[in-house]
Symmetry: D2
Subunit: 137 residues, 4 copies
Amino acid sequence: MTTYSKFESDFRVRPDDLDMFQHVHNSKYFDYVLAARYDQMERCYGMSMDAFLKRGYGWVVQTAHVDYKRPLGLGDYFIVRTGIVTINAKGCRVEFTILNKATGKVCCDGWFDYVMINLQTGRGEIVPEDVIEKYTV
Amino acid sequence: MTTYSKFESDFRVRPDDLDMFQHVHNSKYFDYVLAARYDQMERCYGMSMDAFLKRGYGWVVQTAHVDYKRPLGLGDYFIVRTGIVTINAKGCRVEFTILNKATGKVCCDGWFDYVMINLQTGRGEIVPEDVIEKYTV
Amino acid sequence: MTTYSKFESDFRVRPDDLDMFQHVHNSKYFDYVLAARYDQMERCYGMSMDAFLKRGYGWVVQTAHVDYKRPLGLGDYFIVRTGIVTINAKGCRVEFTILNKATGKVCCDGWFDYVMINLQTGRGEIVPEDVIEKYTV
Amino acid sequence: MTTYSKFESDFRVRPDDLDMFQHVHNSKYFDYVLAARYDQMERCYGMSMDAFLKRGYGWVVQTAHVDYKRPLGLGDYFIVRTGIVTINAKGCRVEFTILNKATGKVCCDGWFDYVMINLQTGRGEIVPEDVIEKYTV
C-alpha cells in the first residue's frame, strides 16, 4: 500500500470570509482547501492546475465530507495540510486538515473525492498513467 | 420512528456564484442549503432563525456531506428540498437535495449535522423540548 | 437626447451575503447589480448575456461608483432598478438604485461604466450598431 | 496640508475569487481593500479594527469609487497600497491602488469614504481626537 506525502499551505482569514457570527463561513473552508490544492499542485507535484487545463483536463469534486471542530475568526492565520489517500485511473481521494496557526489546534478536517474530466465534453476521463505517477509522491 | 416533513425553497443562480468553469462553485451549494433552511425555518417551522437568535441560541454545522451529481450554470432556477432526519436534545441531522428546476434532475444531495449553541458562551446547549416539538412536523 | 427605460429585478438577501455586522457586505451590492443586469438583458433587451458570449463579446466594468445609504439585512427582499444613461460605440453607462422592498427606501445607488470586449483578445471592441439599437429602449 | 503615509499589504488571488471569465470578480477588489485596511490598521496605525470594535465603534463605507485597469487572474500575487487622503471629525477618505506583483502594473485604483458609527445605535459618530491622531501618520 502506497503512502503519499502531505503538503502544507499558509493562509490568513480575510474579512469577507466571516459570517454574521464573526466566524469563517462553513462554505469557505471548502474554498481554502481548493486554494491549498492549487498552490500545492503547482509547488509540490509535477503538474499544476494550469498544466491540467492546457491538456484539456479539469478536476471535479464528486463527494465532499467536512468535520467542523473549532471556528476560525478575523485575521487568524491557518495552515491547510492536504494529501492524497488513493489515486487511480478513476480519480483520487484527498484528505485535508485545517489548523489554526496560533494554537496548533484542528479547525476542521475531512476529505474530497475528485474525478478528472475532459473540459471539452464535461465527462469523466481515465486518469493517464503519467498523471498518476506525478501525483504518487 | 418519526417521519419528518420535507420543505422546498426556490432560488436562482447568481452570476457571482459561478466558478471559472462557468459552473456553480462547489462551496456555494452549502450556502444554498443554508439559505433554504433560513427560509424554511421562517415559513415552515414554528421558529425562525431570528427567534433562535433572540433566545440566545444559534445552530452550528458539525459535519457536512455533499454528493455532487450535475452542476448548475448561469441563470439556472433550482429547488432546495430539505428535511429533518433526526432531532433530539443533542442536535439534528438535515438531509437536502438540490434539483435543477428546468430538468427536474438532482444536482447534488447530502446531509448536515447541526448542534445548537449558546451564542453567549459559544458552547453546545441541550435543545429545549419546545424547540424539538416545533421542529417535529 | 435619448431617455432610456428603467427595469427592475427582485431578489432576496442570502445568509452568505452578510458580513460580521449582520449587514450585507459592501461588495455584494456589486454582485446584485450584476445579477440584475444579466436578468434584464435576458428579459428586457433584445440580447441576453449568453447571446453576447456566443458572438464572442463580453462586457467589462471600467468604473464603478456606489453611494451607500442604508444597509440590507438578513432575509430582506429588495429591488434592483437599472437603466442605461448613455450608450455608444465606446461603451455604456448604467445607473442603478437598490431599494428595500419592505420600506421602499433606497439602500444604495450609483453607476457603472462598461466597455465591450472581444473575448478572444480580451481587448476593447467597437459596440456594433445592432447592439446599440437593441439597447436603445 | 497634511500628507499621510501609504502602507502596503501582500495577498494572493484565491481560486474562489475568479469569475467565469477566469478573472478576479469586480466585487472582490473591494474585499481586497477591506482586507488590506484591517491588516494595516493592526500593523501600521495605533489602533486595530478590533480596538475600534471594543470601544463600540465601527467604520462604514459611504461611497466607493473604483477604476478598473487590468484584471488579476488565477494565483496572481498582488499588493494593496492604501493611504488616508483626509481625516476629520466626520470621517475619512482612503485611496487605494492594487498592483500586480509580477508586472508592477496597476490593476485598479480608487477611493472609499468612511464614516465612523456607534455599533450600539448604528448611527454616525464624531471621530474622537485620539483616533484622528493615531491615524495621522
